[in-house]
């Protein structure tokens, strides 16, 4: 329990705690509140790893909590934008579906290696960063449908690349890590 309840995980957990505020921002039509929450989440995301190393409390649970926070932010912000008319339905649904396919690849990787580990690729890290900015664009009403469709296109390219890596990566190398 002590390894789960540490400063880095509490820090990361606040990203999940503020998610209802995004829905509230959409419901009350306060776009700048939505932008503020997304910005807060982005800043915490880039700092929580540093905090974990600084206080020597990096855990596997923390790594998974970080990934869950990223996915939750993506789903809640995009659904809110779609429900309250900030973004088109077609690109939002397509992007959410691609997110599910992307997550499926991570599950295949866990099954292949037999180790609960988060598959990482540089392209998907870049995609994660760009997704954060596209969510900001959604609430700022900035080229939003174009941005979402372009993100769909790049997601397809990266998913194909990641699946190829997931299916061909030498398993014994991961198991020995």
């Amino acid at each position: 329990m002590a390894s789960i309840l540490n400063i880095a995980n509490v820090f990361t957990g606040t990203r999940i705690a503020v998610l209802p505020l995004i829905f509230y921002a959409g419901y009350k039509d306060i776009p700048m509140l939505g932008v503020t929450i997304i910005a807060y989440s982005g800043i915490v995301d880039s700092l929580d790893g540093i905090v974990a190393r600084k206080f020597n409390c990096a855990t596997k649970f923390g790594e998974m909590l970080d990934a869950i926070s990223d996915a939750s932010m993506f789903v809640v912000a995009l659904l809110t934008a779609m429900i309250f008319g900030y973004a088109g339905i077609a690109p939002s649904i397509t992007l959410l579906a691609l997110g599910v396919v992307n997550a499926g690849g991570r599950i295949i990787f866990i099954k292949r290696t037999g180790v609960i580990t988060n598959f990482r690729s540089y392209a998907s890290e870049v995609l994660g960063g760009v997704t954060f900015w596209v969510l900001v664009c959604t609430f700022l009403d900035y080229y939003i449908d174009t941005a979402l469709w372009l993100l769909c296109l790049f997601s397809v390219i990266i998913i194909i690349h990641d699946y190829w890596r997931i299916l061909t990566y030498p398993i014994e190398e991961v198991a020995s890590e």
Binding site: D29, P31, G85, Y86, A87, G88, S121, Y122, A123, E125, V126, L127, V130, W133, C137, L140, D141, Y142, Y143, I144, D145, T146, A147, L150, F154, I157, I158, H161, R165, Y169, P170, E173
Partner: protein, 90 residues
């Protein structure tokens, strides 16, 4: 350019905020595009120097992954620049 990047208005952001955000995106582009370009060239060079008989295969996979990642980042940032410029140069 504006035909490529259709500026829909779902809830009508003010022109001032749109301009401010575009300037922010141009600043981000100016910082990150050279950074990713440098990393891309560096890792292409490393990949060319890679000796598969001596070096670890895991290292080669990592290098290929890096090169692909930096290329994707540069491509995405190019779209960011076009979008931002289409607002600034109107």
């Amino acid at each position: 350019m504006n035909n490529l990047f259709v500026l829909h208005s779902y809830h009508g952001m003010s022109d001032g905020k749109t301009m401010l955000f575009s300037v922010l995106l141009i600043i981000i582009f100016s910082i990150f595009f050279p950074l990713f370009t440098w990393r891309f060239i560096r890792d292409i060079k490393n990949l060319k120097l890679f000796n598969s008989s001596v070096d670890d295969i895991r290292k080669k996979i990592d290098l290929q992954d890096r090169v692909f990642g930096w290329f994707v980042a540069m491509s995405m940032l190019s779209f960011v620049l076009v979008a931002a410029l289409s607002v600034v140069i109107k």
